[in-house]
């Protein structure tokens, strides 16, 4: 695994070295994607809930759904899609030099990444936060009790930085043990090699679910960081940025307006709600600014579903879901007290 990873890194670096300049006059990303006939969408190594492989080697998950939604918006066919699984080290380079059209993976939106890596984050599709898990028999009830503890952490993410910040601010003197491989990290945690394990809470939920005795472990209440996860695109192509951003908004608005995969045909034909009609292309010409067909949002909902349906299917209680409750969390719709809020279709 490590060598393929190094290879990708080498190839990306080499591409940067020998590639002629990406001409400013080059065609737009939308044109390139259309001409190629499929979308290249980047995810990471399998992470349950977000992107994972099924028995047939097909990708599924909430972030994969974003890829499918963008493909559906452009081609009217969610399967015109190539999923690229790229290591976290080269994810931004691979996007910046044009190997991927879109990055839809658990990448946290931060100022540094937004401004210094040649990419733009579009719209938040999952609000995550870093937390801790401890074995129940330690009797620890709060992360503030972790003074002098050893904590297992995965390298190559914002997690290490958050852990150091949390330790410093609360004077906890936490010692991090850093791992490249999540399996080795989990084994070490289970063998008592560290007192706690830290990661994004959504990820802890899926790790915990896979443990032999999930109930022996406790997710501590503290959330020590903000991890807004959002799809990202290459900087400098406003139209492409809008397409991805409004694809996410279409998913959220559809849920708010009650448009689902099942009733979308009926809604397009019979709805009297102007917002629904404009979104689904029954009236108006909102599609023109995006350079997409009139039924782009219809195709998204018809083929992929709305935000709530995707959440239920992969993050919530669905068969493939990782059972992260949505009610009362930031990922609930704003109308129900959450933070999922999309600008209107008009």
């Amino acid at each position: 695994m490590k060598f393929t990873r190094l290879l990708t890194l080498a190839v990306s670096a080499f591409a940067l070295m020998v590639a002629g300049g990406v001409g400013a006059s080059a065609e737009s990303t939308l044109d390139i994607v259309k001409k190629r006939g499929h979308l290249r969408c980047q995810v990471g190594a399998p992470a349950p809930g977000f992107y994972n492989l099924d028995a047939n080697g097909e990708w599924y998950g909430s972030d994969v759904s974003i890829c499918q939604a963008v493909a559906a918006a452009i081609f009217g066919d969610k399967s015109k899609l190539e999923i690229q699984s790229v290591s976290s080290q080269v994810r931004f380079t691979a996007l910046a030099n044009g190997e991927s059209d879109l990055l839809s993976r658990t990448a946290t939106w931060t100022l540094l990444r937004d401004t210094q890596l040649g990419l733009d984050f579009t719209a938040i599709n999952f609000y995550d936060g870093q937390g801790f898990m401890v074995p129940k028999d330690t009797g620890i009830k709060s992360a503030l009790e972790l003074k002098g503890a050893t904590v297992c952490v995965l390298t190559g993410t914002t997690t290490e930085l958050n852990l150091a910040d949390f330790s410093r601010v609360n004077n906890l003197d936490i010692s991090p043990v850093t791992f490249e491989d999540s399996n080795v990290r989990n084994d070490t945690y289970l063998a008592g090699g560290c007192d706690a394990l830290t990661n994004d809470k959504s990820s802890i939920a899926s790790i915990k679910a896979a443990f032999p005795n999930p109930d022996d472990h406790l997710l501590l209440p503290e959330t020590i960081s903000k991890e807004p996860l959002a799809p990202a695109v290459r900087q400098g192509d406003g139209q492409w940025f809008d397409i991805v951003k409004w694809t996410v908004y279409a998913l959220i608005n559809a849920e708010e307006l009650g448009v689902t995969q099942a009733n979308v045909d009926d809604m397009r034909a019979n709805s009297t709600n102007a917002s629904v009609r404009r979104m689904l292309g029954a009236e108006g010409n909102l599609n023109e600014g995006l350079g997409l067909s009139k039924d782009w949002a219809y195709n998204i909902i018809k083929q992929v579903g709305n935000y709530g349906e995707i959440y239920e299917r992969y993050m919530g209680g669905g068969e493939l879901g990782i059972k992260i409750g949505r009610a009362g969390s930031a990922n609930e719709l704003w109308t129900r007290g959450g933070l999922m809020y999309a600008p209107p279709f008009r």
Binding site: L9, G20, N97, Q116, T150, T155, E160, E180
Partner: protein, 405 residues
């Protein structure tokens, strides 16, 4: 050199070679070398400027300014002072370099000793010993190193007792503990007068060196032997020991004690370090053992017979006659072995030891994002170390090769 008249005459009448610029061998070789140098230089210049240009138009930052920026993350194993939020990326680079050097230098020393030992055992006349050595070599040499590293980490060091049940390796003295968080040992804190003990030690080393020369000289002249080894050991222990006691034992010990979750105080090595050290040592020792065996077998059997014939014991025949000659065949593979040992330590990333790759090329790269610069610096570090090793050993190699008659 004597030059006869006829030689002189023939040299004189020989027509002077016409200098033909286009067909002169030296001109041609200089030309091709210049051409190669220019091509390589141009290619390097093109790659560097083009990379910089491409990074710039993609809006990605370039340059080495990040080295003075503060790094916010922490690391569990560091040999120099570092505080997250105060220490810089430059310091992180240094910590990574030192951690890589620490584990690989320990592994090089240990695997060299173990490799020589096993290599000699491979040739033992004792059937069982020779077969055991063979089994060791074959098992270790024929499985991938990464697998062995993970085995030692997950299968051995992670399964040691937990902190609360730590094993006291010093048998109740509470100075050396081991558990699945690492090896904890008491660490000396020198007092005011400790420099005198250090000075005494250095002086004794010089003395032992002089004594050795005197013993050699006497043996050459009179044939009398002097028990140089035991005398040296005795001197090295007694003289500094006496000074230490006379100056009032100026050394405090920082003892590891169990506080809260972990041991505090003393010096500790994480399990990842131990697993890496053990696996690198064993893996490279197995490879070295075969080189040693080949080197010994390359020495003519007549040498052994001659050595035994003049009355040397088998052990001394090996040490004085065979090994010095075998070194000629052993040193070249030894060079590449040591270099491999340093480079293979980068597999540390699999088990979370903070070497330069894990700490700098992985964590720091992800935080700061200067991929091209950071990968370049890491490569430069490995290249510098490898070239230094091969340079030093080549000097040694020249010396042992000269022994050949």
């Amino acid at each position: 050199m004597a030059v006869t008249d006829s030689d002189k005459a023939s040299a004189h009448v020989k027509p002077k070679e016409r200098f033909d610029f286009f067909h002169d061998e030296r001109v041609r070789s200089v030309f091709y070398q210049l051409l190669t140098a220019c091509t390589v230089g141009w290619l390097a210049w093109y790659l560097i400027t083009n990379t910089a240009h491409n990074l710039e138009i993609r809006g990605m930052n370039t340059g080495f300014g990040f080295l003075t920026a503060t790094a916010g993350f922490d690391t569990d194993f560091k040999l120099i002072e570092y505080e997250p939020g105060i220490g810089t990326y430059g310091r992180i680079f240094l910590i990574g370099c030192l951690n890589t050097l620490l584990v690989s230098s320990f592994a090089i020393v240990a695997s060299t000793f173990l490799g020589f030992f096993v290599g000699v055992l491979r040739l033992s006349n004792n059937w069982l010993v020779a077969r055991l050595a063979l089994a060791f070599v074959e098992i270790i040499r024929n499985t991938p190193l990464l697998l062995q590293i993970i085995f030692w980490y997950v299968g051995v060091f992670a399964l040691l007792p937990r902190v609360k049940n730590s094993v006291d390796l010093s048998g109740g003295a509470e100075v050396l503990f081991i558990n699945n968080r690492g090896l904890y040992m008491a660490w000396p804190v020198p007092g005011d007068l400790f420099w005198m003990t250090t000075t005494a030690f250095v002086a004794t080393v010089v003395g032992v060196f002089l004594l050795r020369r005197w013993a050699h000289k006497r043996q050459d002249e009179t044939g009398q032997q002097f028990p140089i080894f035991s005398a040296s050991v005795a001197l090295l222990i007694l003289v500094p020991g006496a000074v230490y006691l006379v100056t009032g034992s100026p050394l405090e010990w920082d003892l590891p004690t169990l506080q809260g979750f972990n041991f505090r105080g003393g010096f500790s090595l994480p399990p990842a370090f131990l697993a890496l050290l053990v696996s690198l040592t064993i893996y490279h020792a197995a490879h070295l053992a075969e080189s040693v065996r080949a080197g010994i077998l390359s020495v003519n059997k007549g040498q052994t017979e001659a050595a035994l014939a003049i009355g040397l014991k088998p052990g001394r025949a090996m040490a004085l006659i065979i090994i010095p000659q075998a070194m000629r065949a052993i040193v070249p593979p030894l060079i590449s072995l040591w270099m491999n040992c340093v480079k293979n330590s980068s597999l540390a990333i699999a088990i979370g030891y903070s070497d330069i790759v894990a700490l700098f090329m992985q964590t720091a790269l992800n935080q700061a994002g200067y991929a091209v610069e950071m990968v370049g610096m890491t490569m430069a570090f490995y290249m510098f170390i490898s070239l230094s090793i091969s340079g030093l050993l080549n000097i040694y190699n020249k010396r042992v090769q000269l022994v050949e008659r």
